[in-house]
């Protein structure tokens, strides 16, 4: 069969414009398919990233907007397998003008000492760590935020509260790098308590805890122990891995899995249509030629093979091109602003690329089955008589 390959390639080049257009068309579709697959994989299939796999989030069972007593922290610390417990309190508030979306970034308060126990994987100079531990009004931000806001160490950051009726006057004392955190500011919980005053009911409630487990196999056990511990209290909890927790925000958008699948289905079907159309046109044009080939003694099987092969070659090139474009686009998307953490690490992994190209070839071959079958079966005299 291999000796037909040169003829197959020649056929591909016969109507160059059509082949190129088809390749572009399939390429665009495959690019999209690649992106969708990569997104699906990144969101739902990827394992927890280093630094993230030991971390859990505990929040009120109803929603993270419901407060829990701060005393839970001490109880959670007693659970075997827990290496650190940090308050993870969303402060919200307004920086400058809330109407400008550029002023939005995540603002949390935490206990600095616990923060370093829970976020063991961050990259931050020792003197800045010390400054955060010591200065009550100190704040640290992730490097991407500092860069976007053009903040330098020592910057004064003013935030007006909404959930908490206080205003923060923070001083930037540290900039950290963390692959799992984007555009976030942390400040000292003690400072918030001080502003709220001794009589505030809010001073001793917490929205969520971040917990560092001692080992990966302790994560599930710790989560279960915590939730059982508070099951019958006034504030029952839900503990989950940080990865599962972030996925919740994606479910805000509705059934994202279904959206992705519907789009993938539509795109796949489009490729099928485009490829089938091209091959039908290509075969129709060559009816006479097929007749001649048959007269020369080519079997219907080899003709079938040649047409299928041609479709396979075209869709394979299209697929490879699409995957290349998708890889380029993921690069752009990684740097685009997004609240979905997983977008920051979106990549076309080798398995996604292989799946795309394989799918492209399969669709190409499948779509040309009918025209190829018709060509192979057509009686010689009919095809020779054709004027096409």
């Amino acid at each position: 069969m291999l000796r037909y390959v040169p003829l197959m390639l020649k056929n591909t080049l016969r109507n160059r414009r059509r082949s190129v257009l088809t390749i572009f068309s399939i390429g665009a579709s495959l690019c999209l398919l690649g992106l969708m697959f990569a997104l699906y994989r990144g969101l739902f299939l990827a394992p927890a990233r280093p630094g993230q796999e030991l971390r859990l989030v505990t929040h009120h069972k109803v929603s993270m907007t419901q407060p829990m007593p701060y005393s839970y922290a001490a109880k959670i610390r007693q659970v075997p397998g827990v290496a650190g417990v940090m308050t993870w309190q969303w402060f919200g508030g307004t920086y400058k003008d809330a109407r400008d979306r550029n002023n939005f970034f995540a603002r949390f308060c935490a206990e600095p000492a616990e923060f370093f126990k829970v976020h063991t994987d961050i990259d931050m100079p020792e003197d800045q760590r010390r400054a955060f531990l010591q200065l009550r009004t100190g704040a640290i931000v992730s490097d991407d935020l500092a860069e976007r806001m053009h903040w330098k160490l020592g910057e004064r950051i003013f935030v007006i509260g909404d959930i908490f009726p206080v205003s923060l006057e923070l001083k930037l004392v540290g900039i950290f790098h963390d692959a799992n955190t984007s555009e976030t500011l942390y400040f000292n919980r003690e400072y918030l308590r001080e502003l709220l005053g001794p009589n505030s009911a809010r001073a001793d409630t917490v929205g969520a805890f971040q917990i560092q487990a001692e080992s990966a196999d302790a994560v599930a056990r710790v989560a279960k122990t915590i939730d059982t511990m508070f099951e019958n209290s006034t504030a029952p909890t839900k503990s989950e891995s940080e990865q599962a927790f972030t996925l919740q925000f994606i479910s805000f958008l509705g059934n994202v899995k279904m959206y992705l699948m519907v789009i993938c289905g539509a795109v796949t079907f489009t490729i099928l249509l485009v490829s089938a159309n091209t091959m039908a046109m290509s075969v129709r044009e060559r009816t006479r030629e097929v007749g001649i080939l048959k007269t020369l003694g080519y079997s219907p099987g080899s003709i079938l093979f040649m047409v299928l092969g041609e479709a396979g070659v075209i869709s394979m090139i299209g697929g490879a091109m699409g995957v290349g474009m998708a890889a380029g686009l993921t690069g752009l998307l990684r740097n685009a602003p997004s609240f979905i953490q997983q977008m920051k690490t979106l990549t076309i992994t080798p398995d996604v690329a292989a799946l795309c190209v394989g799918l492209a070839i399969a669709i190409g071959v499948l779509s040309s089955l009918i025209p190829a079958w018709n060509a192979a079966r057509m009686p010689i005299l009919v095809s020779l008589r054709s004027s096409g």
């Binding site: 690019c31 959206y259 249509l273 039908a280």
Partner: protein
């Protein structure tokens, strides 16, 4: 002189398989776009339908959502004394103090359960919402553990029907009624007595928001200005309609993603349309020659083929709208970041979305048709006629 459009129509029907496949490819692209637009339209119309232009929403300064809003009874009392507030027949001011909380209930769609907004209000709150009608059962009674659920809630969660019980805050509540708010967002809420919910959540004085009905639009303006400027209130006033419309931005990520997907798919479909049109031009070379001999100018040949491409894509666009039409009025749910709870709404495949879809298809047709049309117009008569 122009070539009649009937000529193009006939050509499209002669090659019906190719036409259909190309049109279907365009249709799928259009379907994705129109479906996304229908989703966004549905969401924004649900929000818009929930806002009365004369209702003024007052919350603590700095908060941009009722969930993290704030309103004390003392401030509310002062607000009701302001001039410009409409009064009911018996003389009480149309002012409603409300408490917003969230309850998490098991859902078949999401393993994390669905969050629903629980709104505590008094009968005045219902007077401020004339669109909210009782569909089944009766209203909750003050001081009793009774709730009325929105019709979408009852429909989407079978365990929340009339006569069932729901457990949140300090115990169980009887579902005594189902309300119908037209297209309003109350369909996704649970309503109950303000004081009962305030005592359950230990928030006797820390309530969420106040709604005031202004006598007319001029009074509304004055009322909002005097509330926002009076430092005693430390509150911000906006019309309910403005507040609701601003929540539509929750759908922005979906809209951006949908448009992004549609554009990439459109690139693929344009190439496919181009392919089809080139094939059409190649097959009809002789016809083109004949038309030229009959006296049709190059210009009219160009227009004719271009129009044929537009026609082809318009068919595809219409087909795409047809594909999406069954989605119309299908109910779906989405979480919003401002309420942290689910809002149910219907897809709305409106004339505007369909017009955008067909327009989008015709852009694809125009891009795909312009080069083949030019190619046809440039053909020399003699060469074209000699072509077989």
């Amino acid at each position: 002189m122009a070539i009649p459009l009937a000529y193009n129509l006939r050509n499209l029907t002669v090659r019906k398989t190719t036409t259909f496949m190309t049109a279907l490819g365009i249709a799928l692209t259009v379907a994705v776009l129109v479906a996304v637009l229908a989703l966004v339209n549905g969401l924004s119309s649900a929000f818009e339908a929930s806002g009365e232009p004369l209702n003024i929403l007052v919350m603590r300064k700095g908060s941009n959502a009722e969930l993290n809003g704030g309103m004390s009874r003392a401030v509310f009392q002062d607000l009701t004394a302001l001039p410009g507030i409409a009064r009911a027949a018996d003389g009480h001011p149309l002012a409603s103090l409300e408490l917003i909380t969230i309850v998490n209930i098991p859902s078949t769609e999401d393993e994390n359960g669905a969050n629903l907004t629980v709104r505590g209000l008094t009968t005045v709150g219902l007077e401020l919402r004339p669109r909210v009608k009782l569909a089944e059962g009766r209203w909750f009674q003050a001081g009793k553990r009774e709730v009325v659920v929105g019709k979408s809630v009852a429909k989407r969660h079978s365990n929340l029907g009339l006569g069932k019980k729901i457990r949140f805050a300090k115990g169980e509540w009887d579902i005594v009624g189902i309300l119908d708010a037209g297209r309003g967002s109350e369909n996704s809420e649970i309503l109950l007595d303000l004081n009962q919910s305030a005592s359950d959540y230990n928030r006797m004085d820390g309530l969420s928001s106040a709604r005031l009905r202004a006598t007319d639009s001029v009074a509304a303006e004055a009322l909002m200005r005097s509330i926002s400027e009076d430092r005693r209130f430390n509150s911000n006033a906006q019309t309910e309609l403005d507040y609701m419309t601003s929540q539509t931005s929750n759908a922005a990520p979906i809209k951006i993603m949908g448009i992004f997907v549609a554009i990439i798919m459109a690139v693929g479909s344009s190439f496919a349309a181009m392919n089809t049109m080139y094939a059409a031009v190649a097959r009809r070379a002789r016809e083109v020659g004949t038309l030229r001999v009959l006296g049709f100018s190059r210009g009219s040949i160009l227009t004719s083929f271009f129009l044929e491409s537009l026609l082809l894509s318009a068919i595809g666009g219409a087909l795409g709208c047809l594909l999406v039409l069954p989605l119309n009025n299908v109910t779906t749910g989405m979480m919003t970041f401002t309420t942290f709870s689910e809002i149910a709404f219907n897809f709305r495949v409106g004339p505007q979305a369909m017009a955008i879809g067909v327009g989008f298809a015709m852009i694809m047709g125009a891009i795909g048709g312009v080069f083949p049309a030019r190619n046809a117009a440039k053909k020399e008569i003699l060469v074209a006629l000699r072509d077989q």
